[in-house]
């Protein structure tokens, strides 16, 4: 598995922010590769640089120096519109606060990324959105509005939205941060299932127990990699979910 070319390669990435007279070094030379089919958690406390890392991985921000090669393409020098095209074709985002368009049905929310890809026809768009919703188990909620869905269901719509453009990597930013433990585990089940189907996932979180569901954990601290370890004992989210006390007992 490690023999093939990595799906993304981060090479000596630095990112400086000018705050008035001061320069903040958010990332100070980070190196790692992610290979196709990996499920990587990026951990770190606030201020560790993990958000900056995620923004660069998601092609929303450019490094001050260093190289970022995504799916064989150098991205560090690309202009805004070129980065947008990469986001449109190669990246799927899942956010902490779901970021679904309100007053817009689940299926329309899922179709949204494909609207910005002119090579996908309307019928193809619909077909793929239905398929993506089926994969997250929401085939029966397609025409529901976000406010008619629970938090977990909304996050599943968001995952379907991240899947619909068939990205080379799914980037999740604290995707379970707004959810209770049970729902978090449900969401992690979906991520694990997607990973088993071959999806590459980078999951940013600060919760250590979430990291135990992934195959590898990169820990950032003060803009540098502190640890980059393979998780020998990957927990099964389904088993963890079933081991939880039933919801009635939590209520007591």
């Amino acid at each position: 598995m490690q023999a093939e070319n990595p799906i993304l390669s981060i090479q000596d990435i630095r990112r400086d922010f000018k705050m008035g007279d001061e320069t903040v070094h958010a990332l100070r030379g980070v190196n790692f590769d992610i290979h196709s089919g990996e499920f990587v958690t990026i951990m770190g406390t606030s201020g560790s640089g993990k958000s900056t890392m995620l923004n660069i991985l998601g092609c929303m921000d450019r490094p001050t120096s260093g190289h970022y090669i995504l799916d064989g393409e150098h991205t560090e020098k690309l202009k805004r519109d070129a980065l947008a095209r990469i986001r449109s074709k190669k990246i799927g985002f899942v956010f902490q606060s779901y970021n679904l368009l309100n007053r817009t049905t689940a299926i329309e929310n899922v179709e949204l990324p494909l609207l910005y890809n002119s090579s996908v026809s309307a019928s193809e768009r619909h077909r793929r959105a239905v398929e993506a919703l089926e994969r997250v188990g929401l085939a029966d909620r397609m025409n529901h509005l976000p406010n008619q869905l629970s938090g977990g269901q909304q996050q599943r719509v968001a995952i379907a939205r991240a899947l619909v453009n068939d990205p080379v990597i799914i980037l999740a930013d604290e995707a379970t941060g707004n959810l209770d433990t049970r729902t978090s585990y449900e969401i992690m089940m979906i991520f694990q299932e997607l990973n088993r189907q071959g999806k590459t996932i980078a999951f940013v979180t600060h919760e250590p127990d979430i990291a135990t569901f992934s195959g590898r954990t990169i820990t950032l601290r003060d803009g540098l990699i502190k640890k980059d370890v393979i998780n020998e004992n990957v927990q099964d989210a389904k088993a963890a979910f079933e081991a939880l006390p039933p919801p009635e007992m939590i209520d007591d």
Binding site: N55, D81, A84, N99, Y116, N165
Partner: protein
């Protein structure tokens, strides 16, 4: 992204905020409807003035003394017109079809217990064709045979006032104690351009007025008509030539003033054009205000939807996509406002025409121009907010609460 898809996104966004969309559309609707109605009003009054002026007498020319006043003081005694001038014009002028003096007296026409405060107009028979009058009943007096005769021809309003029971021919009107025998009546012409009643007239031979009523040889005005449209200027020059020659006139100023129908139409239409221009400008300002309303709403919309913009960018929208999405929204608002406004403007024009009997004429040009202006308004006022949206930083925008 395909324009159609962007339009769909924009429409969806507008439908999500129906009330707000409705209100900003309303601003444009009012502006456009006002422009359409004002232009229709201006255009209508222009046409109606033209029609009325023509019905007053086609190609009419009026000659009157040129009162040379400076600072309100009459500098020298003005030249007066006299009967010989009328005869000279009639005999010599080649571009003139008919010519008639006009001398008048004010007073009451009385028949039994009925009276009518109608001006008595002394004219010659040509006056009828100059002013487009026609005989309804009886006959018109003859210039030679009825010279100084105590006869008259009356309009329908006078018939109504003085002879409510009808049949005035052969009866006698008393005007300043002088009996005038009615020998004819005129066909109704209706009210004129400025509300005066063209049927409230009593015509009598001019010599009758000059000798029996006012005891003067001066003529206040001479009416004439040119032989056809486009001859007004030549006819004017010719008349002026004849009048000057009769007086061996050598001074640089003209002794008389000559008004032609064409000039009068121009004078009146230029006034009404000015009024309609002012009204149209006011209406245009309200359209502009509507545009500012759009800009305002687009600004609010961009700020409010910062997070949405961030999300759209994160999932692959480029700046241009965002820009056009918002531009489409403002253009759709303004075009929708334009269509509704044009419809309402036309409807309002028709209602005013039907119920208030005002001349209204919706011009195709004003409709096309309004529609074009709406489009430009949408682009113009949507541009800046749309550009602001397109330049947002996706990271900052996503973080926006």
């Amino acid at each position: 992204m395909a324009p159609l898809t962007l339009a769909k996104i924009a429409i969806r966004a507008l439908l999500r905020n129906r009330m707000r969309t409705f209100l900003s559309v309303l601003g444009i609707v009012i502006g456009v409807a006002a422009v359409i109605a004002m232009v229709a009003m201006g255009e209508g009054s222009r046409i109606s003035i033209k029609e009325q002026m023509t019905s007053m007498g086609s190609n009419a020319i009026i000659i009157m003394p040129n009162r040379d006043r400076r600072g309100g003081v009459q500098m020298e005694s003005s030249e007066m017109l006299e009967e010989a001038d009328v005869i000279a014009i009639r005999e010599q002028a080649t571009y003139i079809d008919g010519v008639s003096p006009m001398v008048s007296v004010s007073g009451q026409a009385i028949v039994g217990n009925n009276n009518s405060p109608t001006t008595l107009s002394g004219i010659s028979a040509d006056y009828l064709k100059i002013r487009n009058y026609e005989i309804e009943d009886g006959v018109m007096f003859d210039d030679e045979a009825d010279r100084m005769a105590k006869v008259c021809v009356i309009g329908q309003s006078v018939v109504k006032n003085l002879f409510p029971e009808g049949d005035p021919i052969g009866k006698t009107i008393r005007y300043k104690s002088i009996p005038l025998k009615v020998i004819g009546t005129l066909k109704a012409k209706g009210s004129g351009d400025f509300g005066q009643d063209n049927d409230d007239v009593i015509f009598t031979p001019y010599q009758t007025v000059m000798r029996r009523f006012s005891a003067t040889t001066n003529i206040r005005q001479i009416f004439a008509n040119s032989i056809g449209e486009g001859y007004a200027e030549k006819a004017t020059e010719e008349i002026m030539g004849i009048l000057k020659e009769r007086r061996s006139w050598t001074r640089p100023t003209d002794p008389f003033r000559v008004f032609t129908q064409e000039e009068m139409i121009q004078t009146i239409t230029s006034t009404s054009d000015l009024i309609s221009l002012v009204l149209t400008i006011i209406a245009g300002i309200s359209l502009f205000v509507g545009g500012i309303g759009i800009m305002n709403i687009m600004y609010v919309s961009v700020t409010e939807r910062t997070k949405e913009i961030g999300l759209r960018m994160a999932i692959g929208a480029c700046g241009r996509d965002i820009m056009f999405q918002f531009l489409f929204e403002s253009v759709i608002i303004s075009l929708l406002g334009g269509v509704i406004g044009i419809t309402l403007g036309i409807a309002a024009s028709e209602i005013v025409k039907a119920f208030f009997n005002m001349p209204m004429s919706v011009s195709v040009t004003s409709v096309i121009v309004s529609f074009a202006v709406c489009f430009v308004t949408g682009v113009f006022f949507g541009w800046y907010p749309a550009r602001k949206a397109s330049r947002l930083d996706p990271i900052e925008a996503l973080r926006f609460e």
